[in-house]
Amino acid sequence: MAELLLSPPMLLMLGSVVLAAAPRNVLPRTVLRALLLALPVYSLWRFWGLDLGDYAQFELFGQTLTLVRIDPLSRIFVVIFHLAALIGSVYSFYVRDNFQPLVGVFYAGSALGVVLAGDLWTLFLFWEVAAVSSALLVWVRRSGRAAGAGLRYLGMQMVSGVLLLAGIVLLRHEVGAAPGWAEFRNLTGFLENGGLGFSNLAATLIFLAFGLKAAFPLLHSWLIDAYPESTPAGAVFLSAFTTKFAIYALARAFPGQSELIWIGALMTAFPIFFAVIENDLRRVLAYSMTNQLGFMVVGIGIGTELAINGAVAHAFADILFKGLLFMAMGAVLYRVGHVNGSDLGGLYKSMPITTGLCIVGAASISAFPLFSAFATKSLIMSAAVYKEYFWLWLVLLFASAGVFHHAGIKIPFFAFFHHDSGIRCKEAPRSMIVAMVLAAAASMAIGLFPLAEMWFGVANPFYALLPYPVDYDVYTTTHVITQSQLLFFSALAFATLMRTGLYPPELRSVNLDADWLYRRVGLRIWDGVATAFVALHRAGYATAGRLAATALETAQRHLGPQGFLGRSWLTASMALWVAVLLAAYLVVFYWRLG
């Protein structure tokens, strides 16, 4: 029982519920916050002491479920999810209210449940808990827009849940027990090379369920729609978990699935066009998140040990640097009240520390040498080269230049530099700065570890966490030179476009994306159906009403006080008419006889 309650998912989820339920006079805010931070720290420390294997198994409805299965793939996600919960909580202490960190830690617990799940039922359970708890983090903004976005977000998450459930039920039907990952592979006829043919319906449904949360093209708009509508802290928590456990799930169930290569390539290339013209800087980050997820999906699709290592390492690094960028933009949102590129500029004067930390995040996502993505994305790029995917490699290279363009330059440039908007505000609150420093330090550490290994022979603790052994030199002369060339010339393109006035100005606007299909087209169709139904209903109602009115009028005319049949008749006239009737009857009777 203790093993169950003290497992990472349960510890974080139950812990945050207990803290939320504790009365205020028993637990002062500072104590509550200390305990809240202690949760992920203690959980990670406990987890670190465990060997690989299955833990916390229990019986439910006659099936054996495994809450915790530690293997090299789940281990690294467990580590980064704990770090993300910790950093996000520290960041969110800028508000007096503890609702956000409590929900954030609970949500982190459910994400841990997903990556540790030893069977698909357990996975599904946490998949749904994560959907609901993360929707709270959108709604916590308490604005009309956030309310709508949160609802659409939850709707899409539920679609993923239903697809997953349908897939699992089909699998369960074939296995007759709680399906685990091994059964999944056996039953879906998974081939080591080339993946499965999607002839298996269960596998297809599960693929789509994972793909929706990993923001596959056309299934991605919930992310772009909802994350930027959250609070500063809410977006930091949101950016860390859902998409990354989807990447974990894909890496677990579909490594080497060749369709993923081109799905991922589309994901890396398309969002950057949208990011260039987007005005809301946190929405730019949401687009760049889809782009980064694309690199991971490509890595899973290639499926070699190097590529899977790259995908997982990049997921780890992305949580840190994307979190850092969301935190920096969250600090601007908190101090200025908006993050519209069109109305910002010159904030480096007011927020120099945030500016510096944002630049570290920008350098990290752009994969500059010495920064994290250089040591992670390169694994995926090299895996593509080794498998001789030439066109894929060109797309990824273009996307890398594009990342630097919109996330590396656009974000810090339009927020902190550009022309002075005249906005003067305070530097970010201390809690925000502490959290950003933690994420920045971790991002730099990931970039510097391989160098320390090369120069001083210090073993790289980050690469040691990866699912497969790493035999890869990141800091080769060729790699440093080519990457720097790509990035610096991409910067030159930006500077040239700015100085020649060709660069599109930041405009207050909304750009249509796939969500237009359900927010506009779908709504129009729904409106049309509803209008037609109402019209039909009204027409039917009116006709029935008219008929009833006519009947009533006729009856009234004949039976009313003035009506022919409603008049008072003389008894004598009635007797006369009866006599006439009897006479007529007599005539007919004799005529019939004759």
């Binding site: 060339q485 750009n511 129009r524």
Partner: protein, 101 residues
């Protein structure tokens, strides 16, 4: 980089507020780029791909050209996408205030 308020809001004058200094940053970037391009003279790369006669990842100036042209065309293409995709800021909200339905 078009407008500069010579530190008139904060009272304090910053180095980047002077227009000439922004130009200096631009020229410094060009200088750095020239140096990175020159690196191709001194360091020979091994081509992994046969495509394009091995120029793609082994030839002189491939990465600089690809980075510059890629980023340049990216922005120009995105700019054209605005014609189709851009709507006013309250596009999705307008409907509720007595629009279509």
């Amino acid at each position: 980089m078009a407008h500069h308020d010579h530190g008139k809001h904060g009272g304090k004058s910053y180095w980047l507020d002077r227009k000439g200094n922004v130009a200096k940053v631009f020229y410094a970037l060009i200088a750095v780029d020239v140096l990175w391009l020159a690196a191709d003279f001194f360091h020979k790369k091994k081509a992994e791909f046969d495509a394009w006669g091995g120029w793609a990842d082994g030839g002189f100036g491939f990465y600089p050209v690809y980075g510059f042209v890629g980023a340049f065309l990216l922005v120009l293409a995105a700019k054209q996408m605005r014609r189709v995709l851009m709507r006013s800021e309250d596009y999705y909200e307008r409907r509720r205030d007595g629009g279509a339905s």
